[in-house]
Symmetry: C2
Subunit: 220 residues, 2 copies
DNA sequence: ATAAAAAGTTAGACAAGTCTAAAAATAATT
DNA sequence: AATTATTTTTAGACTTGTCTAACTTTTTAT
């Protein structure tokens, strides 16, 4: 039986590993978990003893298949709880992360699957992130960002990379939600901001690079 | 912010105090929490420092109004989660206790009230225990046990005192559920077992004293 | 290739929560 | 009232997870 802290470390290593593909550094984990590199070193040793990661001193960590399984299950739990919080309890998408961080650690053989069934097997969480299935299979984002869309092309918002409350509230204020259709009108070379128009909206407006780099989209 | 352990101690003190009415001894708490009296002594000191209980050495513990508030909120959370698990996720009433023990500790200002609303403000949990309202008011059982019902009288099952899995499964096997109507046919002086008949059932059967002492009923 | 910078690890300390073993206080019994 | 017995508390140890400060290894840059 793993502790909350252990699961959080595995999840962090999993998420960082997804982007980088290779061995994960101590400092990145520390940053992600708002802790200190020395604490990470300690924990990494314990996780290695438990065969959850492969680790050689000074060489970073990689999940074993067992560790990956735990991480994916935790991610699955997290995302299903987020769906529950938004769909059933009427939370907003910018409110659910911290709560799901707690709920994901509830220990049970059956809870997550029963929750999945109750929610009718959702495929994505409120931020557009894919929900791993019972067996741990995940359909990852294709990683097309709004910033890569050409002028005069349109796209649909399918996810957010940053799911911080600040970013999500900014999107709300601009009426950008999952499923929104956005057309790129022009690009500003100086600061890489882009001028966009939302479908069904006459008014066009400007989006900074920080924002367009954090919106997953699908071309249409 | 209180730890899971602290909340569990407060809940135990609250539950024991409900029955006894007075200062709660160390040994009872230790038994209820499956821990050792020495651990209880330690924790009791901490809870006293935090003004959650009143405590004088060798004199047992009593909840302060603040401590009682925490305990009742934890009970409220526990029972609402039990309703969710049974009504939404299709767990049986003998399966939900352990899970609710975990879920009750999720920290949030709004979660429990939102859950309450989602569940349409239930008044009782799957074992018939009353759910405290938002303000902490509870309608306690009137404590009428099946064992106190006279011959030829009928009653409705409104709750269980023992909510262990073993007891609940025994009730299931005898088709005794909340709302069942039971008529007392005869009593056996030797072992205090009673002979009963369920409404809508021709067959009558015998119930031991242990069982009849753990069923809350309402006379009809 | 060697010095400086960055990254990673160890050592020692701390807090929460638990335990065993022993001591102290209270309660029960003769 | 004195002696058991029971209950409660203390003392010291252990685990998990964290920290700071110091040290080592690896990487980077000159």
């Amino acid at each position: 039986m793993l502790s909350h802290a252990e699961e959080n470390y595995l999840k962090a290593i999993y998420n960082i590993g997804l982007h980088t593909g290779k061995s994960v550094n101590t400092n990145l984990i520390a940053e992600k978990l708002s802790t200190k590199p020395s604490s990470v070193s300690d924990m990494i040793k314990r996780l290695s003893d438990k065969k959850l990661i492969d680790y050689k001193k000074y060489q970073g960590a990689i999940l074993t298949s067992y560790g990956k399984k735990v991480a994916v299950n935790t991610v699955r739990s997290h995302r299903l709880w987020e769906v529950f919080l938004v769909d059933c309890l009427n939370y907003r998408w910018d409110e659910v992360h911290e709560l799901a961080e707690q709920l994901e650690h509830i220990k049970s053989d059956s809870l997550v699957d029963k929750l999945d069934a109750f929610l009718k097997f959702p495929t994505h969480d409120p931020h557009g992130d894919p929900i791993p299935d019972k067996k741990g299979n995940v359909n990852h984002h294709k990683n097309v960002m709004l910033s890569s869309i050409n002028i005069n092309e349109s796209c649909i918002v399918v996810g957010v990379k940053d799911s911080s409350s600040a970013f999500l509230k900014l999107l709300d204020r601009n009426s950008i939600a999952l499923g929104s259709t956005i057309k790129v009108i022009s690009k500003e070379p100086f600061d890489n901001s882009i001028h966009v128009k939302m479908k069904g909206n006459k008014q066009s407006f400007t989006i900074s690079q920080q924002v367009s780099n954090n919106l997953f989209v699908k071309k249409i």
